[in-house]
Symmetry: D2
Subunit: 343 residues, 4 copies
């Protein structure tokens, strides 16, 4: 059975496992105070060209989102997300669990529609000024994921527009980078890590889906955001053997490994897409990253399902469905070839 149902089905890049093997019986200090974490943090800051920022290595994405957003907001404040945003639909209310409303705004293909967002904000502030701010959850941050849950990516110009909106309203800007590598490696992408660091108040470089066993590296560029070690522990998110995260990010951030393996995932995804298009399958959404969405005839879908796992998304019409194929850093040319042979 071929498997293209998600991008976190394999362990980690072999270089990481080798390093973990080498140091396995060494004695390291806990809670991220070890030299591997220190080295990883330095390399991340260097890659992002933001020497004064703060880096926190955390275990998972939902945990990271709730911690960063909780650090950004006062008790009664909220965070804006597109209706399809991960924090709005797929995190079991983790943000609300910290007391904050996720304020949904309709987007397009998983991204903010800048004109619609501006219009929504104007109408919202007009209404709340009229009625009284105190009755509303006032937003204090904008959440975006890049790539989005639908594989699309933001351009530099779009991120600058979001920054301008944040500046206008006094919001923080936070980018969920669970698949950041796959976005940066996408053809047509014009965003760099230093751009993101310059434009966002916080963001994270995803490891779980990009070569690590687990781990996300949060970069907090705005010193006003107190994502303290105490807050991390308070939410049960402090890994005792913190060096496990340090080793992973130290390895990934060395010699361009993170981007190299990201590029592989994107290359394989685009090979698959090209093959699908050539065979006449309909592309559902124009994604330049590792997640590819197609519209399949239900019969074909059933037939394919016997040989390959992929993700069912939603019905397209009475006889067709939208499905997702995801590649990862570990996907091989052979695996994609085998899939292509089934089409």
């Amino acid at each position: 059975m071929l498997r293209f149902d998600s991008d976190y089905m394999e362990g980690c890049h072999p270089a990481i496992l080798q390093k973990l093997q080498e140091i396995n019986l060494d004695k390291n200090v806990g809670y991220g105070l070890d030299p591997y974490c220190e080295s990883a943090r330095a390399k991340i800051l260097e890659a992002c060209k933001c020497p004064d920022a703060q880096v926190r290595l955390l275990v998972g994405g939902t945990q990271t989102n709730m911690l960063v957003i909780d650090a950004m907001l006062r008790s009664n404040e909220g965070v804006i997300a597109t209706t399809t945003g991960h924090i709005n639909v797929h995190e079991s209310g983790a943000i609300e669990g910290c007391g904050h409303k996720v304020i949904p705004v309709k987007g397009v293909n998983g991204k903010y529609d800048m004109a619609a967002l501006k219009q929504w904000l104007e109408a919202f502030y007009e209404e709340t000024t009229e009625v009284g701010f105190e009755h509303y959850v006032m937003p204090r941050a904008i959440y975006l994921s890049n790539p989005t849950e639908l594989g699309t990516i933001y351009s530099l110009a779009e991120l600058e527009q979001l920054r301008a909106i944040c500046d206008q309203y006094g919001f923080y800007l936070y980018m969920d980078g669970a698949r950041l590598g796959y976005g940066l490696a996408a053809p047509g992408n014009d965003l760099t890590l230093p751009d993101i660091a310059r434009l966002c108040d916080a963001f994270y470089i995803g490891g779980t889906k990009v070569g690590a066993l687990m781990g996300e590296a949060v970069v907090v560029t705005n010193p006003g955001i107190e994502l303290t070690r105490g807050l991390i522990k308070h939410r049960g998110a402090m890994l005792a053997k913190g060096w496990l995260l340090g080793v992973q990010f130290d390895t990934l951030m060395t010699g361009g490994l993170y981007m190299d393996i990201s590029k592989n995932a994107v290359d394989q995804a685009l090979r698959l897409r090209q093959a699908m298009e050539q065979k006449g399958y309909k592309v559902y959404i124009d994604s330049p990253t590792n997640q590819q969405f197609f519209v399949l005839d239900n019969e074909k879908m059933a037939q394919l399902s016997q040989h390959v796992k992929f993700d069912y998304i939603t019905p397209a019409d009475a006889t067709h469905s939208v499905v997702r194929f995801a590649t990862s850093w570990a996907t091989t040319t052979e695996q994609v070839d085998n899939l292509m042979a089934l089409l």
Copy 2:
């Protein structure tokens, strides 16, 4: 200046104030353990024909909503509301402050569209079954307000449909009755307090907007919902001089006073509506209760604003606006006559 901008601008029914005067220097035990509260609770249970239910007298509506809903839900569960529901838009995230997501579902005129709600639930359960429940905030309760924020009311048949949906999915049903009297007094209403008590797991009889200085009487009919005194105190909602609430509800529930004064508000509102319609004003929404919504020409609106206060709601088109006029238990015939003279 005439004022029709809200239904909680006056103090309380004079009979309440007289009683408070009479007992002012008596010594009463605190925290709702006094005989006035006991009497009020007994009269409420009698009116609702649910002798085994529990009555809690609380100070305000947001407080009540957050307490009842928090008592209904486990940490990660959510409550369904229409997008216009009070808990979704006007309570500054009080539900989220207790850790729970408000799950918005599109309604019609402030009410649930039963067919749309069923369809939404089916799609939601299909999706969450596919992806895994654990990633979603699973609903455990349905919130409705009756009358709604737009003045509309639920019929007995509709409430029975909501009950059936709740039974199917294992949800609690909770009715926010901030203006309950105005709904029960509406022409065409076929719901009674015993119906509501029979069909809802919890609901409240609103006092703040219907004759009291402050106060809402929650009726919890489902013994599985632990709206304990400890929880009330925990959320800072235990009034020290609880008899103030007892006296008010005891008075309102005696001799039909609550319904009598509710009827006055509705009668005055419908007189106004009739006059507006006769003068050719467009009714925005078909409300049989104390809130009346009209579409006004912006020029006329500006002119009226010099003599009467009302609530601006939203633009209707380039030259018209939606506005709300609210009557209350205290609105006099003379006040409405004066308003009608201005039209």
Copy 3:
């Protein structure tokens, strides 16, 4: 039956009720934006000589404590209280309900022992520096009540010491003034409202126990504490008919009424104490305020209980008990005379 079991058994000062009667059918804007609240706030700021502070009128004491403390703390921070502090034992975990630990420190007679507090802090910081701050709930505020739950009061010198400690450690200082009038009216008291406003970052002037139906007036002198209207609504603490609080504090703060009625409570309490002492009863704690604690022979206690209600506190020894008699602003000379006749 005589009743000295608490200081919130009566309604409110007659002048308040008269005013509420006068304006009962006036139409006022809600949520504390009315002229009575404005006037009350101005008078409070004038009395405290802190024109730039912010005043919030809230309904009850637990609500007030949780709101002020939540506004002071980040998610993982805590507040120090004596083990007998109201927030530590009598508020059903309202502070914890906002996510914050109450850090108990042993006091003496309900007050902080300054030397012990300093020593505790030094040891705590030594330990947390050694182990790592992130594992501990770090305090960010000191809570005190004045008078304390045991009737004792702080001197100006003591409050200055607490301020110095707060300055040293970067803490906020917060005074719970549920019975503040009774403290200010105590013989030997050398604190004034301006002193308190100068030394505390926030405090409240209690109304519920001192002449009001309900209500506490929070004064926030430190502009860094965001006790916003939105936060108040978020916790369900925004009273719809806010003018009810405005009228009460406006009346109490006019013509010295608050202090006059406070003095009455203290005078009556001290008359009772003198009589008790003359009859040979043992005073349990040296309280100069409206709460008086005595050690009674259990037989005498049982006998007295047939004619007067008072508060049982704790066993003193096998045959004696500690009890509390509380007077209030409404206690009459005759009531105390009647009690004295029973001794």
Copy 4:
């Protein structure tokens, strides 16, 4: 430099790393739905002789404690812990972050003193009955750690006593087993996993400190405790690559590995203790587990510090200090020999 400063300084047992290596590029389903987790859960239930219990594999101890306790308590309820309990002092307020008070009760050597606990409970219920339960955080669970933070262990008879107390008061009993293996392997221990499963409503088998990279296996024997997957995700505690935990516990629970490596840690600790005693060092606390506490002359302590790291605990007197040496599953005879040579 020799290191005995903690028991989580090494990676994991080599057998685990080998298995992770073997399956590294296999494709596994996420979120704990893989066969390794299934196998691990089955082996744990078998070892505990509680086939109907539920096993949850989580990443860390604080996370586990907050999740289990949050699943046990209603919003306003609390959990009892000894003053030295991990949740009371070393978890940055994680329990309070879920809204619950940790109710501290004085213990002895890290354990509950059964007579003192009973007396405390009797006095507490007497007081709260008198004053009114609603003002207090009522306990609903008892937390214990075994071994305790001070290395001591509970006997079967003691655990039965705690169970009886829980039955009397309607409490849940929860054992934090961060170092459970070291307790079970201690000389004199008479508790077994089936005993613990029978007497506790929930407990966890610690992996992080006993052979795993990370991971704790919670066993919930009381079906009334809803430690659902949704709650785990809600708190950001769902590991995407859940099989990493499955592989670790599956390995540890196979062929007695968990107990074998636990025994090594205890053996080495007791060798060290014997050597210390023979050299005349004073044992601070009688611990039969992997943590050993001694009283050192400050001069000797400074001298030792140049060659070996250990944990400073607290001053003993003006010239002596209490220190802790911790062994782990990975501690070698040679390491202890080297340490002994320094004494």
